[in-house]
């Protein structure tokens, strides 16, 4: 059911990742509409081919047509990428509701859950719009590296094969491999909870604990993510893919990631507020830690690593204490029995 004809496509959100997605599609030779809430940002992209706030120094594809009118951005397009931070996601979807039609496809690329409701982004799309053929884009994708043409892989997850095919056709290139998955829930959760582990990795790096410790963090972190994910209905194998271990590795390894930087700032002795202020941007992991903490209580799960990060962030525990508790806690099985059982 692959169609070769060019599709019309729009990207909503001209932040760091949204602009990158539009740029990649534009570079593949497709006309792409990019929606920026601020008219100045749209004007800058159209007139100067730059987005200095988020991607300084990058000359954007000439196939991008930016607009600040949402109606214009989505009218009659086949596929809509929604790349809006999780806290603004519902608002944009509510605006989108009257503008979209059942035949349109949508893929979001937002990592996070809604605060308070724990809703996933695909659930929010379903609650606010008539869009049904939807999916999620996630994976180890640092925007800067993608823009400079370095090779990477990513995942599009959807229950609708046509959504995966359409997104793949637009995104794939010599530098980007696009993998499909049907476990939408697992891919969304993997992208959300890995940010918590990244905060721990930032602390560990700052405290110079070495590579062994970091590997310990990543592996045990993945196990906790998978356990929580399975409790919420995900396929455990999704976490061994690009949206699971893949995304977790890159987030923990890269010192430029926001979550990593929050962790490092905390380990330098800053408070959470100071750390967030020094960053100037939202770190999704800070919110995700709170959500994961509440979900773990609700599902009666034990996740010492994520719990440790939560206590450092919200209960004033020092990173050093947090780590000590982690190392002296009871040791579990290397591979959690619940994951072995639920593997198909």
């Amino acid at each position: 059911m692959v169609e070769s004809q060019a599709r019309s496509v729009s990207v909503l959100g001209a932040g760091n990742w949204g602009t990158t997605v539009a740029h990649l599609i534009g570079q593949n030779g497709y006309q792409v509409r990019l929606w920026a809430r601020a008219p100045e940002a749209a004007a800058e992209i159209n007139e100067r081919r730059t987005n200095t706030r988020y991607l300084p120094g990058l000359s954007l594809s000439t196939n991008i047509v930016a607009t600040s009118a949402l109606e214009q951005a989505v009218a009659d397009v086949d596929l809509i990428f929604i790349v809006i931070p999780s806290q603004a996601f519902r608002t944009v979807c509510a605006e989108l509701g009257p503008l979209v039609r059942p035949a349109q496809l949508a893929v979001h690329a937002t990592k996070g859950l809604e605060l308070g409701s724990y809703k996933r982004m695909t659930e929010i799309i379903g609650e606010e719009t008539s869009l049904r053929q939807i999916g999620v884009l996630s994976g180890p994708n640092i925007a800067g590296e993608m823009c400079s043409g370095k090779p990477a892989g990513t995942v599009v997850a959807s229950r609708f094969p046509r959504v995966i095919e359409a997104a793949r056709e637009l995104l794939r290139s010599k530098q980007l491999r696009v993998y499909g998955n049907t476990d939408v829930l697992g891919v969304e959760l993997g992208g959300t909870f890995k940010n918590i582990i990244a905060i721990a990795a930032g602390m560990a790096t700052q405290m110079q604990l070495g590579e062994n410790a970091k590997s310990l963090l990543i592996t045990r972190g993945l196990s906790e993510i998978a356990r929580l994910g399975v409790a919420l209905g995900a396929d455990p194998l999704t976490f061994s893919g690009l949206a699971g271990i893949g995304d977790l590795m890159v987030t923990c390894a890269s010192p430029v990631s926001r979550n990593h930087r929050v962790g490092a700032a905390l380990a330098r002795g800053m408070t959470l507020t100071e750390a967030i202020d020094s960053l100037g941007m939202v770190a999704e992991g800070v919110k995700a830690a709170k959500i994961a903490h509440e979900l773990m209580i609700a599902h009666d799960l034990r996740s010492p690593l994520m719990e440790g990060v939560y206590r450092v962030l919200y209960e004033g525990l020092s990173p050093q204490q947090g780590l000590r508790e982690l190392m002296t806690g009871a040791v579990q099985d290397d591979i959690d029995p619940s994951l072995v059982r639920s593997a198909p």
Binding site: A94, R101, S130, R132
Partner: protein, 548 residues
């Protein structure tokens, strides 16, 4: 001809359309399919089915003939042979339906039905001052005005919860009271052999579903039959749970094969540009204070995995004396059966408004045709459609959940069970049930206190439209009069069932039938009441297709 009912000629057309479509969709695999059918049918016929010896013999002869011919026929003839099998299946499904008799039955319907459902024996009729009518014990709720409009605009599929074989009769009564055209539905072949309703059913718009036939080709024929009848504008009744709820709980998982007929019929209607293409799915809940077949059903639910039965034929539904007892108690205790129509849906799980137009989650009108289109063209995509059917399933389950009407019996059973469960938190369901004996009793004040707490939570849930309360339960919740609730619950529990489910001795309550206690308690399962765990999730998962 009755409005909304297919004529004999049309039924014939439906059958040939069904066979034609299935044969058309078969490509090079005719021989494989024939072998598959032979295997499954041989398997079925190897275990005798009491009461169906004549049919079994005819089937055996038919397949022996197929088997004899098969090696002699050139490949080009295989499709014709397959067509004979499909036609045989399709005719069997439709064959029990006789429009002429139906017309008569429908005309005589109300008195015949009420005589059936009330007097049951002439002697009983004469003993009473006037004829008690079941319809006086049936409370029809929900947006019934929309139903008629939707019928005029398109084709209806009624999808009720399924607790009892009385359900189809209750629906039949309601349909007549609402003056809606009759519905067709698939009834188990075993029901056609039921001594009480069999002959009646045969002519009541029901088509036959033989649950013993496991052949995939048969199931395909069945689904195609339902689809084609929808396309002919025939309103349908599907029990989407597939079988009566064994646990007593409201269905939380549905059979998507049959539900998928809705999107298939809608798509075919669009492809053929039919004038009224819309298919409307109307979920409804039927809530009984007591269930005729409760004992048999819960027994089956609790049977060890693998020992449960797909098909139950020898239950209370086929025994006159149980019907009599049940109806006597419904009348004498003035029990009310609630039939509640929920939000009407399109095949994609969207709500439809009072005029039959689909609306999005925020109430804006949408054209659902778009869900099937790519660049303005209707496109066939079974995986996509299965996904839409999943959305539909979720919406129906939600309607079941919020349309469920809670009776005193459910609350009393829930309270008693909770007290027993909390006293022995170390036991799983089976051990807990095994541990409940005559020596264990509950103090009345303890039960009252528990019911009070449950009622507070129930009132909040009802207020938030998460479920419904029967009039008695709602009154009691409003006035805090737990004793009335216990009294009504105990009266009902002490009547129809062989042993009282719960009975009062002095100031203590005795649970005499723990299995039925769990059955009635389960109607409140899954609402998070009193932070109790969900029981169906800890009971064994049944394999195969649990019908009957």
């Amino acid at each position: 001809m009755l409005p909304g009912m297919l004529s004999a000629g049309q039924v014939e057309k439906v059958v040939s359309e069904v066979a034609g479509r299935i044969i058309e969709s078969v490509h090079a695999r005719a021989l494989d399919l024939i072998h598959e059918t032979l295997w499954w049918e041989q398997d079925r016929l190897s275990t005798p089915e009491p009461g169906a010896e004549a049919e079994a013999l005819a089937d055996k002869l038919f397949y022996a003939e197929i088997r004899r011919q098969l090696p002699r026929l050139p490949e080009s003839e295989h499709r014709a042979l397959l067509e004979r099998i499909v036609c045989r299946y399709a005719n069997e499904i439709a064959g029990n339906f006789n429009p002429a008799v139906y017309k008569l039955a429908a005309k005589l319907g109300p008195p015949v039905l009420s005589a059936m459902l009330t007097g049951l024996s002439p002697r009983r009729l004469f003993q009473r001052d006037g004829i008690p009518r079941l319809d006086q014990h049936l409370i029809i709720e929900g947006d019934v005005a929309t139903l008629g409009r939707l019928h005029d605009r398109g084709t209806l599929i009624l999808t009720p919860t399924h607790s009892s074989n009385l359900d189809s009769l209750v629906i039949g009564l309601a349909i007549q009271q609402l003056e809606l055209p009759p519905l067709t539905y698939g009834a188990g072949l075993s029901l056609f052999r039921n001594p009480i309703v069999g002959r009646f059913l045969q002519n009541l718009g029901a088509y036959a579903v033989d649950r013993r036939k496991r052949d995939p080709l048969y199931k395909r024929t069945l689904k195609e039959y339902a689809t084609v009848s929808l396309e002919f504008g025939q309103d349908n009744l599907f029990f989407p749970g597939g079988a009566r709820s064994r646990s007593g709980a409201v269905e939380r998982k549905l059979k998507k094969g049959l539900l998928g007929c809705s999107v298939a019929a809608y798509r075919n209607n669009l492809i053929h540009s039919r004038p009224k293409p819309d298919i409307y799915i109307v979920p409804c809940t039927i809530s009984y204070p007591l269930v005729l077949e409760a004992s048999t059903l819960v027994e089956d639910w609790l049977a060890e995995a693998g020992k449960s039965r797909y098909i139950i034929v020898d239950d209370e539904f086929s025994r006159w004396e149980r019907w009599l007892d049940f109806l006597r108690d419904v009348f004498s205790l003035d029990l009310k059966i609630h039939l509640r129509f929920g939000q009407a849906l399109d095949p994609f799980g969207n709500s439809v408004d009072a005029h039959g137009g689909s609306i999005d989650p925020r109430g804006r009108p949408i054209d659902p045709r778009g869900y099937l289109e790519v660049k303005g063209e209707l496109v066939d995509d079974p995986i996509r459609d299965a996904e839409y059917t999943r959305s539909l399933e979720q919406r129906i389950i939600r309607e079941f959940e919020i349309g469920n009407v809670i009776h005193s019996t459910h609350v009393l059973a829930f309270a008693c069970f909770e007290l027993l469960r909390r006293a022995r938190p170390d036991l799983d369901l089976y051990r807990l049930l095994g541990s409940i004996g005559p020596e264990q009793t509950l103090a009345l004040p303890e039960v009252e206190a528990e019911i009070e707490l449950i009622l507070v939570e129930l009132a909040a849930l009802a207020e938030a439209n998460e479920l419904r309360l029967s009039r008695i339960v709602a009154d009691v919740a409003a006035h805090g009069d737990t004793r009335t609730l216990i009294r009504t619950g105990l009266l009902a529990f002490g009547s129809y069932h062989n042993r009282p489910v719960v009975e009062r001795r002095g100031i203590r309550l005795h649970v005499s039938d723990p299995k039925l206690l769990v059955y009635y308690r389960n109607r409140l399962d899954g609402y998070g009441l009193r932070a109790a765990p969900s029981l169906p999730s800890i009971a064994p998962q049944k394999q195969g297709y649990g019908h009957g």
